[in-house]
């Protein structure tokens, strides 16, 4: 909301009378400082990633990416995200729905629990799964008996990814759902709609941009997660390495060019995510503004 407001105002800044604005020197210095900061902390690192990746030419770059271990890491990263994101989409919508639309004992506890993965250090999250499913863990022996390997295997990586990316969807849609209220759903019910019809025809269209935004953030976290995955992975090259882990291994082996080439893939994924996020954010603002208007726009 604030962004839209600032943008709308920004468009007129040039034509504002001098008495309403700062002296030119102040404006230039502040703008230059902000740009310098952006350059040093955001643009330079990004440029470095790509320039280091290409330092030995484009051929070397592509052979680093086409390396079987790198491709395997890419596959595992996409697999983990492909499981974690839909799972968290479903959990997030259920939790968001329950919190925003109903009153029940323990609601505050649930709201706090959803934020737990944000509050706990990712390394600790990873260790939780090792303690839970490891050989000495609570559920480890049971899993071993049934021939399921969780820690130092793909299931552990997926579990850790789900855990750390859990809050994003729920966090994004709870405010949107709360702003929407329950009247439209009640109206649908009185008009004869079933629960599913109400959800797909009334609730979902109202929260879709918030939901997409949450999914994009959730996906970004799922693909970029290092700490938690690093603990449960065991880092078996070509088997349990995700992209971020592979970057670290290459770097530790002094294969800087290879590390940056793989890192550039992650950076590209991040850039795509940012573009999608920006587009969605615009739509979300319009939606929330519309719901504010239709809820609070009339005098009581």
């Amino acid at each position: 909301m604030a962004g839209g407001y600032a943008r709308a105002r920004g468009g007129h800044a040039g034509s504002r009378p001098a008495r309403l604005t700062e002296p030119p020197l102040v404006r230039w210095v502040l703008t230059a400082l902000a740009l310098l900061f952006l350059l040093v902390f955001l643009v330079l690192p990004l440029v470095t990633v790509f320039s280091e990746a290409l330092v030995r030419g484009i051929g070397s770059y592509f052979s680093s990416i086409a390396d079987p271990a790198a491709l395997s890491a890419l596959r595992l990263t996409l697999l983990a995200a492909a499981i974690a994101v839909p799972a968290n989409l479903v959990f997030g919508v259920c939790a968001g729905w329950a919190i925003a639309k109903f009153d029940f004992p323990g609601k505050q506890v649930l709201t706090t629990l959803i934020d737990l993965p944000f509050a706990v250090s990712p390394v600790i999250s990873g260790m939780l799964f090792v303690l839970l499913f490891g050989r000495q863990g609570v559920l480890g022996p049971w899993a071993a008996e049934h021939g399921i390997r969780i820690v130092f295997a793909v299931p552990g990586i997926v579990l850790a990814t789900i855990f750390v990316s859990f809050p994003f969807v729920a966090r994004e849609i709870i405010p949107v759902m709360e702003a929407m209220g329950t009247e439209e759903e009640e109206a649908a019910r009185v008009l004869g709609a079933s629960g599913l019809q109400t959800f797909f025809r009334v609730t979902l269209p109202n929260i879709k941009w918030g939901l997409l935004y949450g999914v994009v953030l959730c996906n970004a976290r799922a693909m970029g997660e290092f700490g938690a995955v690093s603990v449960v992975s065991g880092k078996i090259r070509g088997v349990t390495n995700t992209l971020p882990l592979h970057v670290e291994i290459l770097y530790n082996e002094y294969n800087f060019q290879g590390a940056f080439a793989v890192a550039s893939m992650l950076a590209l994924l991040a850039l795509v995510t940012l573009v999608v996020k920006t587009v969605i954010e615009g739509r979300l603002e319009t939606d929330v503004a519309a719901s504010r208007e239709s809820v609070a726009g009339e005098p009581l």
Partner: protein, 336 residues
């Protein structure tokens, strides 16, 4: 279809919203649930619709117990106070919603849906706005779309929650008349909630007055205005003067401002008072007189009477209630 509410009670935590409420709505009538805000009217309406479950009591629709029936299957139309239009759908889609969500076997074909939606939009005089979104409409237009949407499923009962509450005064007056005419045309059993007694008088056939979760009176508009059941109802419908019996102070009677006789000479059963304020604008002259215990007494007389009386501020006058009503039998003072 008739509605019968029998001994309905509802609590929210410790708050008693409804306490043993019973009333009935005969088929085809327009009934107002009237009372101050927070008195339980909206809760009653939501219980009839099935959006809220009563703690005790039953709701009969057409003589059948509908208490356990879901809101989906009650065949009621509900107009929400803030309309609750589906904000991402056009006006047309809003009105069509109730028909589109029907099971395939009972869903009308697309052409039939389109025809019915346009008929309804014509009925509420909004067909030209069919492609707009709710956010592009004025309050009065949204209100009429909400009504068309509720009518689209051919409900047997129409329930309206403060239907004019969110509109400004002029729009409210027009819509009120329009809704009354509409009701006279389609004769749909209707219940609406309002806290505005004028609205209830102008629109309803019958009025159920609900205050603090109980029914204070249930009767025709004439009944509640001319024959109020108790002090609350009497006070709710306008200014009331309280007269103490000259022989027995415990015995009080109530009279409206136009039911107070005023004269300059004492007579049988008159009370002395001093004129404090005279408002002589318009056809009705409003006088406020202070009784000996300084309680203000409001009097309304015609301009002619006022000119004949020839009174001014500070002058002593003698008042006598006419058509006075007594609600309490104190019993302490028996007639001699």
């Amino acid at each position: 279809m008739s509605i019968e509410v029998q001994h309905v009670s509802k609590k929210f935590g410790n708050f008693v919203a409804l306490d043993d409420v019973s009333f009935s709505v005969p088929p085809g009538e327009l009934v107002a649930l009237l009372g101050p805000s927070g008195g339980g009217k909206t809760t009653m309406l939501r219980i009839i619709a099935g959006l809220e479950a009563p703690d005790a009591g039953v709701v009969l629709l057409e003589g059948e117990d509908a208490t356990e029936r879901s809101a989906r299957d009650r065949g009621v139309g509900f107009v929400f106070q803030h309309y609750a239009l589906f904000r991402h759908m056009t006006v047309f889609e809003n009105v069509a919603f109730g028909l589109r969500v029907r099971a395939k076997a009972v869903r009308p074909p697309a052409t039939e849906i389109s025809r019915r939606v346009h008929d309804l939009l014509n009925l509420v005089q909004l067909d030209f706005l069919a492609d707009r979104l709710p956010s592009q409409l004025s309050g009065g237009q949204r209100q009429r779309v909400a009504l068309a949407r509720a009518l689209a499923v051919e409900p047997k009962v129409l329930l309206l929650d403060e239907p004019f509450g969110a509109l400004d005064a002029n729009v409210r007056r027009d819509l009120r008349r329009w809704l009354r005419r509409l009701h006279d045309e389609i004769h749909l059993t209707s219940v609406f909630v309002t806290h505005d007694q004028e609205e209830a008088i102008e629109l309803a056939d019958r009025v159920v007055i609900i205050n603090r979760g109980v029914v204070e009176q249930n009767g025709s508009v004439d009944d509640v205005v001319d024959r109020p059941a108790n002090e609350f109802v009497m006070r709710f419908f306008g200014t009331v003067n309280v007269f103490h019996d000259p022989l027995c102070h415990e015995q009080v009677v109530y009279a409206r401002p136009h039911d107070v006789e005023i004269g300059t000479l004492p007579g049988a059963g008159t009370v002395e008072a001093r004129v404090d304020e005279v408002r002589a604008t318009g056809a009705i002259v409003r006088i406020v007189a202070l009784a000996s215990d300084r309680t203000p007494i409001h009097i309304e007389v015609t301009r002619e009477q006022y000119q004949r009386l020839d009174i001014a501020r500070g002058q002593a006058v003698h008042l006598r209630p006419r058509n006075a009503r007594a609600f309490r039998d104190e019993g302490d003072c028996l007639e001699p």
